[in-house]
C-alpha cells in the first residue's frame, strides 16, 4: 500500500513537473527582439559574403537546404529529404513545396542551381562546392548535385550561412561573378528565410520583420528583430546589463564575459560555437631559420605555459585546444599537450644546435594582427626569454599590413586566430595543405608540408564513412600536434549573452548564424 501511494505521489509529481516543463517551453508569439552586431555589416547577401557578422542577418533572410541540431545531425529545412547515392557522387535534395521568396515568387530547384553557381564563383571558401560539377533540376522541387568525387563536407556546407539560396529572378539579372556587388545585396534584399528586411542603415542597425509566408507553418515566433550595430564592447556590456539589448553573440573579452556572468538577469554561455570553430594559435614559419627545425618548435611549446594563457590571460573563459580542430567538433581528437618544462626545452635547443652564447641562443620575431592579442604576444616574449630565446615583437599598423606579412611568409612567429567553418575540409585543411602555401592570409602561411598529412587530408575529404573519417582526422591531428607548424593554445572565448526574457536562444552548432525562427520573447 505504502509503495503504491509512493508510486502514485511520484507519478503525480512527474506529471506535474512535466506539465510545468511543457508550460515553460511553450513559445509565445510576437514581440521585438533587440540584438546587437559587434561590427558594421559589409554585405547582407550571405551567398557571396561569409563571416560572423553577415551570418546572423544572412541566416534570417535566406534559407539553406539543411539545418543542424545540437548533436551535429542534419535536419530538414528547405530540403524535406535528401539522399546521397551509394557511390557518393550524387546528392539529391527534395525541396519543400511551399517555400516562397519574400516577394511572393515560389522557390524552385532553379534557384538552388543558380545559388550553387553564384556561391562557386563568389564565395570565399572554394573548397565547399569545388567537387560540385553541375546541378540538375529534373523538376521544380528536385535538385541533384552531381559531384566529381565523394564530398562528405557538403552536408555541413549546405547548412548555416554557407549555402544561402538566393532568388534567380532577382540576382540573376547580370553576370554571375558580379552578384557580389549586386545593388540588392544591401537594399531590398529578397530571400526565403523566416524574416525579411525592413531597413538597413549602415553603421546604425538592421531591422527585420516576420515573413508571414515562411514555409514552416506557425513560425517564426518573433514579429521583429532589431540588430543594432554597436562596435564598442564596453558599451555593449552596459546595454546588456541595463536591458537595452536582449541578446548578443561573439563577445570575446574575458574581463567583460566574467563581469556579465555576475549579472543575475543574464545568461552567458560558450555554447553554439562548435561549427564556426574559432581557435587561437602560435604560428611558426617552418621554412626558414631555427624554426625550420621541429626540435626548436617543440622547445618553444615546452617553454610557453598554456596554463598561464588560460588562467591569467583568458581568465578561465576559453577552453584548451590541442589540434587544428575545435574541441566541440565531432572530429576532434585531443592530443597530449606540451606541459611546461624548461629543462626539456633547453635540452631540445642544445640538441638542435643552438647553445647559449653571450646569454642568448637565437633571435626571433613575433607578429600580431590586431591589438586584442598583444598580451599573448608579450607573454610569449617573456616565456621564451627563460630559455634564452630573444624575441622581438613586431607591431603592424593595421590588419592588411599584418596580412601581407603572413601571406608572403615574412615572419618567424605570429599569434593567429582561425575558424574551422564547419567541416575540416573548409576551414582546417587550408592551414596544413602543402598545395596551399603562402596564398594570402589564413592559407598555409607556415609553409608546412608533410606528405602523410596531405594524404590523410585527401583521404578524409572523400571518405563517406563517418567513423573511418574520424580515424583519418585522428591520425592527422596527431601529426600536427607532433610537428607543430602551429602551437594550439586555446579556443577563442566567444560567448553568447542573453537575458531572462529570451526563450530558446540560438545555441546550436552554428550559434547565431542560424535561422532564429524558434526563438521567442517570454513577455
Amino acid at each position: 500500500m505504502n509503495k503504491f501511494v509512493k508510486g502514485l505521489a511520484m507519478a503525480t509529481a512527474l506529471t506535474a513537473s512535466f506539465a510545468t516543463l511543457t508550460k515553460a517551453e511553450e513559445p509565445k508569439m510576437g514581440g521585438t527582439l533587440i540584438t546587437v552586431l559587434g561590427s558594421n555589416v559589409r554585405n547582407l547577401n550571405s551567398a557571396v559574403q561569409s563571416g560572423i557578422v553577415t551570418g546572423f542577418p544572412g541566416a534570417q533572410l535566406f534559407a539553406s537546404p539543411l539545418r543542424y541540431d545540437e548533436n551535429w545531425e542534419p535536419q530538414p529545412y528547405l530540403a524535406e529529404t535528401w539522399e546521397v547515392s551509394e557511390d557518393g557522387l550524387t546528392v539529391t535534395l527534395n525541396l519543400v513545396k511551399n517555400a516562397k521568396f519574400h516577394d511572393g515568387m515560389p522557390l524552385t530547384s532553379e534557384d538552388v542551381a543558380f545559388s550553387v553557381e553564384v556561391i562557386k564563383a563568389n564565395h570565399p571558401f572554394k573548397s565547399m562546392f569545388a567537387p560540385v560539377e553541375s546541378v540538375s533540376t529534373p523538376d521544380a522541387h528536385t535538385a541533384i548535385l552531381n559531384l566529381s568525387r565523394p564530398h562528405p563536407a557538403l552536408m555541413l556546407a549546405m547548412s548555416g550561412q554557407l549555402m544561402s539560396i538566393i532568388p534567380k529572378h532577382i540576382y540573376g539579372d547580370g553576370e554571375i561573378k558580379d552578384v557580389k556587388t549586386h545593388a540588392r545585396n544591401n537594399e531590398n534584399v529578397v530571400g526565403s528565410g523566416p524574416f525579411k528586411l525592413t531597413e538597413f542603415k549602415n553603421g546604425e542597425h538592421v531591422i527585420l520583420e516576420r515573413f508571414d509566408d515562411f514555409f514552416i507553418e506557425g513560425r517564426p515566433y518573433l514579429d521583429k528583430i532589431v540588430m543594432r550595430i554597436i562596435t564598442d564592447p564596453a558599451a555593449r556590456a552596459i546595454a546588456y546589463e541595463n536591458g537595452e539589448i536582449h541578446m548578443g553573440a561573439f563577445e570575446s573579452l574575458p574581463r567583460i564575459i566574467n563581469r556579465l556572468k555576475k549579472v543575475d538577469s543574464l545568461t552567458v554561455t560558450s555554447d553554439g560555437y562548435g561549427a564556426i570553430g574559432p581557435v587561437d594559435w602560435l604560428a611558426m614559419n617552418t621554412t626558414k631559420g631555427p624554426l625550420a627545425d621541429v626540435r626548436v618548435r617543440k622547445a618553444i611549446a615546452y617553454a610557453v605555459d598554456k596554463n598561464f594563457i588560460h588562467k591569467a590571460l583568458m581568465q578561465g573563459t576559453a577552453s584548451d585546444s590541442t589540434s587544428g580542430i575545435h574541441p566541440d567538433s565531432p572530429f576532434y581528437a585531443a592530443q597530449e599537450g606540451y606541459d611546461v618544462d624548461l629543462e626539456k626545452s633547453a635540452a631540445l635547443l642544445d640538441e638542435a644546435g643552438f647553445p647559449v652564447k653571450d646569454g642568448t641562443r637565437m633571435s626571433l620575431t613575433i607578429d600580431f594582427g590586431w591589438p586584442g592579442v598583444k598580451p599573448q604576444v608579450e607573454y610569449v616574449k617573456a616565456a621564451l626569454k627563460k630559455v634564452n630565446i630573444d624575441v622581438q615583437v613586431r607591431a603592424s599598423a593595421d590588419f592588411p599590413t599584418w596580412a601581407k606579412k603572413m601571406g608572403t611568409m615574412d615572419f618567424d612567429m605570429s599569434w593567429d586566430t582561425v575558424f574551422n567553418w564547419g567541416d575540416p575540409v573548409i576551414g582546417v585543411h587550408r592551414t596544413y595543405d602543402s598545395t596551399n602555401i603562402a596564398k594570402g592570409v589564413w592559407s598555409n602561411t607556415q609553409g608546412y608540408s608533410n606528405a602523410r598529412a596531405d594524404e590523410l587530408m585527401a583521404m578524409a575529404a572523400v571518405e563517406t564513412d563517418p567513423a573511418k573519417r574520424k580515424a583519418l582526422y585522428g591520425e592527422f591531428q596527431q601529426i600536427i600536434a607532433d610537428e607543430l607548424p602551429v602551437y594550439h593554445t586555446n579556443t577563442v572565448p566567444y560567448h553568447t549573452v542573453y537575458n531572462d526574457k529570451v526563450g530558446n536562444p540560438p545555441l546550436g552548432i552554428w550559434g547565431s548564424s542560424t535561422p532564429i525562427d524558434m526563438t521567442y520573447l517570454k513577455e
Binding site: T32, I34, S39, N40, R42, N43, Q49, S50, G51, I52, T54, N122, H123, P124, F125, K126, S127, K177, K180, T181, N186, K201, N202, G203, E204, H205, I207, V226, R228, I229, I230, T231, D232, A234, A235, R236, I238, A239, E241, N242, E244, A397, D398, F399, P400, T401, W402, A403, K404, K405, G407, V418, F419, G427, R430, K439, G440, V441, W442, S443
Partner: protein, 325 residues
Amino acid sequence: MATLQSLLMRIVYAVILLMAVLVLNFSMMHLAPGDVADTISQSMGGADQEILDQIRADYGLDQPFLVQLGSYMGKVLRFDLGYSFFYNTPVTQLILQRLPATLLLVFTAQILALFIGVILGVISARKPNGIASHFVTILALFGYSAPVFWTGILLLIGFSLNIQLFPVAGMRDVTIEGGFWVHFVDIVRHLVLPVITLGSIFLALYSRLARATMMEVLGSDYVRTAKAKGLSEREVVYKHALKNSLSPVITLAGLQFSAVISGAVLVEAVFSWPGLGTLAFQSIIARDTPTILGILFFSALVVIIGNLLTDIALRFVDPRVGGKG
C-alpha cells in the same frame, strides 16, 4: 570688384589645395602594405587566393598606381566620389547617410560649449581669485585632460547603468512609435551624454580663453572710463567688455570646426553614434580608400563653411573686421 576677385582667388586656391590633399592621401594609402581585399577577406573569415585576385581585378587594385590615381582623380573632377569597395555603396550616398548625425552632435556640442564656456569665463574673470574661478579652472583642466573615451564610459556607467536615465548607444530607439515630438525627445535623450563628452573638451578651451581675454579687457582704459561714467557693473561687463572679449573665442571656435572628424571619432565610437567619425575610423581600418578620401573631401567642405560662418559672426560682434582701415 576687388573683393569678388579675392574671393574667387581664395576658392581657386581652396580647390587646388583640396586636390593636392586628395593626391597626397591617395598616394599614402597606396604606400602602405596590403589593401582592401585583405580586410574584405578578414570580414569573411579568410578567402581563397582566386577570390582575392578577382576582388582586386574588379576594383582595379591590380592596375599600376598612376592608372588608379588617374581614374580616381578623373572621377573626382566630375564630382563623383566613387564607389566604396568595402560597403559596395556609392561613397556620396554613404557619407550623406552619416553626415547629419555628426553635424547634429558636433554643432550641439560646439554651441553649448561656447555658450556655457563664455559664461563661466566671465564669471571667473570678474573674481579671478574667488571660489567660482578656481572651480572653473579645475573643471577646465579636467575637461581638457580627461580622455574622451574615458569620460564617455564613465558617464555611461553613471547615467545609463547605475542611474538608468539615458540610453547606452545609438541615435534613436527604433522600437519607439509616435509623432514628431516623441522622436525629437528620443533623439535628445540619446544626444545628452555624447554632447557632454564632446562638449567637455571645447568647454575647457572656451572658458579658459574667455577668462583670459575678459580679464585683459576688464583692465583696459575704456572699461575704466565706463566705470568712471557711473555705469553699473552689469552694464560694463556685459555691454562693453564682453563684446570685445568675444572675438578671440569665436576665432578659436572657427578653428575647432576641423574637429568635426578628429574630435568626434572617439565620442562616436564610445556611443555608437552613427556619424562620419565612426565611418572614417572603420574605413581607415578597412583601407577603403574612396570612402576615406570622400570623407576628407566632405570635412574640408565643412571646415570651409565653418570658417565662413566664423567670419560672419566676427563681423557681427566686431564691426572693425572686414571694414576698411
